[in-house]
């Protein structure tokens, strides 16, 4: 599912005009993005939470050439699945 399909699905689910559903999707993902850029946590009950994890730099090797390269410290957003989504996604089949 891509963003426009999500917008369509939300419009149908909540009886909203497409334009308004698009505003909702942009607002929600925009807010979550801004919070993560500020280094804040995001927590949506039942869906999951996001936080920014810090990774130290390390010396790595290019697996192809074997040359040593410095990997700079970095921050990556990390998503932890919420209980409800975890249970709903984990169906036996």
């Amino acid at each position: 599912m891509n963003k426009s399909q999500l917008i369509e699905a939300l419009a149908k689910e909540e009886n909203l005009p497409l334009k308004k559903a698009e505003e909702v999707v942009n607002t929600v993902f925009g807010d979550m993005e801004k919070a993560l850029v500020r280094g804040e946590r995001v927590e949506i009950r039942g869906f999951g939470s996001f936080k920014v994890k810090h990774y130290d730099g390390y010396k790595g090797r290019n697996p192809k050439t074997g040359e040593v390269i410095d990997v700079a410290p970095k921050k990556l957003p990390f998503f932890k699945v919420g209980k409800e989504l975890k249970e709903r996604a984990d169906v036996e089949y």
């Binding site: 599912m1 891509n2 963003k3 999500l6 699905a9 939300l10 689910e13 909540e14 909203l16 308004k20 505003e23 909702v24 999707v25 607002t27 929600v28 993902f29 807010d31 979550m32 993005e33 919070a35 993560l36 850029v37 804040e40 946590r41 995001v42 927590e43 949506i44 009950r45 039942g46 869906f47 999951g48 996001f50 920014v52 990997v71 970095k74 921050k75 990556l76 957003p77 990390f78 998503f79 699945v81 409800e84 989504l85 975890k86 709903r88 996604a89 984990d90 169906v91």
Partner: protein, 118 residues
């Protein structure tokens, strides 16, 4: 600070404005003020609806991609042998499905202060 659903609901209320169908006197004085806001309850329903669509899609096994934010993927994990770290007893972990998230390059770069990240 943690961003929660109530923050999202408040922002959706601030951003979503609907045209007022009944023309009031206000309309001529302050056209930009002549609009209808969502009630807190309705905004909350809409935000819940969005996450419900996301959960339903992922639960059906379909991935979700949001350009500029990232993608949520449903991953299949094979059964494996494990140990209870407390008792040391061997256990079989059954196969399962989990959700993984990978942030888009754009988001990763923004989080690292605009510096390109590999």
């Amino acid at each position: 600070m943690t961003l929660t659903k109530s923050d999202l609901v408040q922002d959706v209320r601030d951003k979503l404005r609907f045209k007022n169908r009944r023309k009031s006197k206000q309309h001529f004085l302050f056209p930009e003020m002549d609009c209808v806001f969502l009630s807190r309850k309705r905004a909350s329903e809409i935000v819940d609806g969005l996450f419900e669509v996301l959960k339903r899609t992922l639960a059906s096994g379909e991935d979700v991609r949001i350009p500029g934010f990232g993608k949520f993927q449903v991953k299949f994990k094979w059964p494996r042998k494990g140990r209870n770290p407390q008792t040391g007893e061997m256990i079989i972990l059954r196969s399962r499905r989990t959700i993984s998230f990978r942030a888009s390059r754009k988001l990763r770069e923004k989080i690292n202060g605009g510096a390109p990240s590999p």
